[in-house]
């Protein structure tokens, strides 16, 4: 049953996106209805697939499309990592769909639905594909969808969208060259089949380096991050949430899968590249955190926070390298962090969207009094910030604990320092936001602030629901981590 649903996870939203595209633009309600129906069905299908993965032997559901096995055919495969990402995508996807359905403005107009459903399909495809070239095509589909969604933003959003497109396409071209090198060496595009057929050498090293740089550009890894703090805030609120929570993770998943399959064969060169990834990640943690502290606009603070969190995720590569217990902890910690960050970041961007809609601006100065007028939205910001900083009792804590354990286990204390410093900086910029919104509305000598504009209650409740999910899921973190760790890679050793 879950094997049958794997192709449906990709083709279903894609077909719905096509249906939404042929509904006339003026019929916005119909498009929203198509979107909501798809979201509900997708959530159902995801639940079945995740259940299937949890109960299947080896925690793996696999289907060869049309019965053709590789090297001729293409295999879709959902493992524990895919399951974690599917859970995240379902929660964020439903939250975003509901937000835009109750308030068209949050998504940038009726063009949102076809683009978002197409993007959703491509994301699912990235999570379950086993084929390198498929991964490339699906990543391009993700890019086209994400860039078009950014361009729906108010004001001059075309510039940031174009900049994002340029960086993403350069990243894809480097990845395509890496695929060509792997194909030249292994003669197959199936990732697990290629793993056994590559030999250490300059070709494999070049392929790994190209993938690291290419995917680094796509997921805004320092020093290739400068497009993200421009593009993410320029997008409509719901789109920012999707970009930070999910789109960045698509490139990350491809990097991790490529790495897990092919890096062990590369020997010492892979260790050097893993350290390079760790150095870039540590720099991202510190730089992103410091820049977030200096911003005066809520959406830019949240965007720089994404740069920081991508840095954490890049640290997983060196933490995983020693193999054994450290690799298990790093792998499960990394995947938990992907889920924790996705939930927290989506909650923050959707909350920022509510506040921007209510106050007409996301300047921290203009948000004074928000604590009194919109307590639940501010609560969502606070809880999400606590999860991002990695404090208990949240999913972020469970994730960072695993990463710290991996660092200590393998004696790589220098990465631990970056992890802890990043947590402090996160507390810092969360405090800056909370201080600004809790300032009294009539502070200073100006006239009292005008009361905020009305926002649909549902839209205001969604961010809190996501933030609460980050707390509730921490109860299940043990089980989730166990499931993921069972299928952890063996590291580079």
């Amino acid at each position: 049953m879950s094997a049958l649903l794997l192709p449906a996870l990709v083709l279903g939203p894609l077909a719905a996106g096509a249906v939404a595209a042929v509904v006339p633009r003026e019929r916005g309600r119909v498009r929203a209805a198509v979107g909501l129906t798809t979201a509900a069905l997708t959530a159902l299908a995801c639940a079945v697939v995740v259940g299937g993965v949890a109960t299947a032997p080896g925690h793996e559901v696999r289907v060869a499309l049309a019965g053709w096995e590789p090297p001729l055919g293409i295999v879709l495969r959902a493992d524990a990592a895919s399951a974690a990402l599917l859970v995240l995508t379902t929660l964020v996807g439903v939250a975003v769909s509901v937000t835009v359905a109750v308030r068209d403005d949050a998504g940038g107009g009726p063009a949102f639905w076809p683009l978002w459903l197409g993007l959703w399909a491509a994301l699912h495809g990235v999570y379950v594909t086993q084929d390198l070239f498929n991964a490339y095509v699906l990543l391009e589909l993700v890019t086209v969808g994400a860039v078009s969604l950014v361009a729906l933003g108010k004001g001059r959003s075309a510039g940031p969208a174009l900049r994002y497109l340029f960086v993403a396409v350069v990243g894809s071209l480097l990845f395509l060259l890496a695929i060509a090198l792997v194909y030249a060496e292994a003669g197959t595009l199936d990732m697990s089949a290629a793993a056994g057929r590559v030999a250490p050498g300059p070709l494999l090293t070049a392929a790994l380096a190209l993938t690291l740089v290419g995917m680094g550009a796509k997921m805004a890894l320092f020093p290739l991050h400068s497009w993200l703090p421009v593009a993410h805030p320029a997008a409509p609120a719901a789109v920012s949430a999707v970009l930070s929570a999910l789109v960045v993770k698509a490139a990350l998943v491809v990097l991790w899968r490529f790495w897990v399959a092919l890096a062990p064969a590369a020997g010492g060169a892979a260790h050097v590249l893993a350290v390079a990834s760790g150095v870039a990640g540590s720099a991202a943690v510190l730089w992103g955190g410091l820049m977030a502290l200096r911003q005066r606009r809520l959406k830019r603070i949240v965007a720089y926070s994404t740069v920081t969190q991508v840095g954490y995720l890049a640290l997983v590569l060196p933490l995983m390298a020693p193999g054994g217990e450290a690799a298990r902890a790093a792998w499960s910690g990394g995947l938990l962090l992907v889920v924790a960050h996705g939930l927290a970041k989506a909650a923050m961007f959707l909350a920022a969207g509510v506040l921007t809609a209510a106050y007409g601006s996301d300047h921290l100065e203009d948000l004074r009094g928000a604590m009194r007028h919109r307590p639940w939205v501010v609560a969502a910001l606070g809880v999400a910030g606590v999860s991002l900083a990695g404090l208990p009792p949240t999913l972020g804590f469970a994730a960072k604990w695993q990463l710290l354990a991996a660092g200590v286990e393998s004696g790589q204390w220098w990465w631990v320092a970056a992890l802890l410093a990043g947590g402090l900086l996160t507390v810092g910029y969360t405090a800056v936001v909370l201080r600004a919104v809790s300032a009294p509305a009539d502070a200073g000598e100006q006239a009292p602030e005008p009361p905020p504009a009305a926002v649909p209650t549902v839209q205001a409740a969604v961010p809190l629901a996501l933030a609460v999910a980050a707390v509730v899921l921490s109860v299940l973190a043990g089980g989730l981590a166990g499931l993921v760790a069972d299928t952890a890679p063996r590291g580079l050793a």
Binding site: V144, A151, R156, A158, L162, L165, V170, L173, A180
Partner: protein, 94 residues
Amino acid sequence: MTRLELLLALGCAVLVVGLVAHLLARDLVRRVVALNVASAGVMIVLLVLATRGTEPDPVAQALVLTGIVIMAAITGLALALVRRVEAPEDEEAP
């Protein structure tokens, strides 16, 4: 240097030229064209790889075909965005 290695080096050179031009150019249309040149470099590499055996490798050729289609779609999107970026303030699309 064999003919194969020469052609592979040519593909890589075209990629590098395209990427450098893309990074250095100021004009947006020029940057889009440079990106297309860079992608042509990757396509050359794939096409050369397809000629390695005694028979042409259809898989690599299919990849090139798909790659060209994707690049065409991306160029279209990029040019549409360039038009909006360079439109005068009052004419910008809603």
